[in-house]
Symmetry: C2
Subunit: 313 residues, 2 copies
Amino acid sequence: VAVFTPVTEEEVSALLKDYSVGALKELRAIESGIENTNYFVTTSEGEFVLTLFEVLQREELPFYLNLMAHLASHGIACPRPIASLENEYLAALKGKPASLVSRLQGHSVIAPTAHQCARVGKLLANMHLAARSYTAVMENPRGPVWWHFAYERVGPYLAADERDLLQNELRFQRAHRELALPRAVVHADLFRDNVLFNGEDIGGVLDFYFAGNDALLFDIAVAVNDWCLVPAHEDEAKRTAALVGAYDEVRPVSAEERQAWPVMLRSGALRFWLSRLYDYHLPRPGHLLKPHDPNHFKNVLEQRRSAPPRWPD
Amino acid sequence: VAVFTPVTEEEVSALLKDYSVGALKELRAIESGIENTNYFVTTSEGEFVLTLFEVLQREELPFYLNLMAHLASHGIACPRPIASLENEYLAALKGKPASLVSRLQGHSVIAPTAHQCARVGKLLANMHLAARSYTAVMENPRGPVWWHFAYERVGPYLAADERDLLQNELRFQRAHRELALPRAVVHADLFRDNVLFNGEDIGGVLDFYFAGNDALLFDIAVAVNDWCLVPAHEDEAKRTAALVGAYDEVRPVSAEERQAWPVMLRSGALRFWLSRLYDYHLPRPGHLLKPHDPNHFKNVLEQRRSAPPRWPD
């Protein structure tokens, strides 16, 4: 269900003539995509991933492709866009914008260990250090402006108590979400399925298509809300301390950021509750994927509200 | 003998603070360097090579580092320079220019198979396709201008028959080396020790510090003179046909290039005979490495003169 635009070997072979990556040896659909069409492309010169962009528009893509190239050139293990013979990262196939990127090795982890959480914390901090010299700017497209837009659209579908909770949280965030924290382009979607591991070593970080400028702390909060609350909240404190402690070793977190931590964890939960409500109640026409259960992030938000965690010391 | 400037873990750890590659986990000297000091650097985020440049000057290095970045961004498996937090590929350590690059996996091959020669041919052709969009220009520093300089310096050390052979070949090249062939920045030193293999797959291509603008055909000739004449000329024709045929599939070679092939094979032999004579008779002060035997390339040149090979069909 996750290949939205099928492509043939002939079509990919023709595309590859515009690159210096050799001839096609193998083409294999990646079934796990949720927004784009992705294929593994193996050539005489290496292994790549071909993406056909189904939602993002052509003019939006250079921000992301240049970001990935920037991070990779700073040693971050992420997909590197491959330039064509015309020196372009962006191509077209079947009427869709397309790009070829290097393929990373590894598997995502469903039940991460504390050690793996620490590795993610280090990776995230190094990614933030590297992102600070990226000069293009785009506000987090799923930031506060979007929350209010999404709330207005999904509100009519919700029970009164859910609407109240959202409204209350939006008001709280407007009053308390600190704007003066250190900022840069952040990944903003660093869930377990976007990090590949080879055993205990990081294989790389994927899927930068929700990246945008926001507080670095927001990125940590999004990651902690996913990496450290699974499964069944077991060892949450240990995993959180591991991720956050490893991060802090690479990029020391300021007193202001520590203080903002409980608010930011809530804002991370709010953002994903809203987007999942939106995808659930207002699915894209023709979009066949079963949406995520929105309730998970409602629960996370309620947990973050009722027991505000302090930054671990 | 091949670590000219030893560095300590403390010094490398301090340097790494200027990067987003994580903290030092392991530092290991690479003993096989012949011009520069090289270390394997393993950090929490990956494996890298640190090079301290012993001969090239700081202002000469951007040409090479940007070339490697350009080729890597076009999908060529070569070391990728890692940018610092200040967005610089070039650093300094122990008073030497230094750079950190990604580490490639694999081993060089002493007795390549015809299949491995074909892989090198494809790699070389793809490298040439990618190099054509590299905009910086620097004449091959070991091209015809340098041959005449080197001949004047080493001439006095040579026996009369060697001097005659050199003089004769220089005259021949001046008259016949075709200047109108397709050109770009070429590797110009694609010997067996500069290509890593993982079994039959290419791991990558190393050591771009002799790269410069020259005929693409010169690059092929240098590679064939090394990859296809070993060991003891056995199967030379088969290996040459494999390398050259695979190259031609990726970048079709013109009629003019085919015609220039015998001359270019001689020019590839001449270039390395001269540089080995130079290093033998005029070693750099304090340079401890045993120079290569110059006679090997004298023999190659004589062989190329007495039995001029045609481009295989």
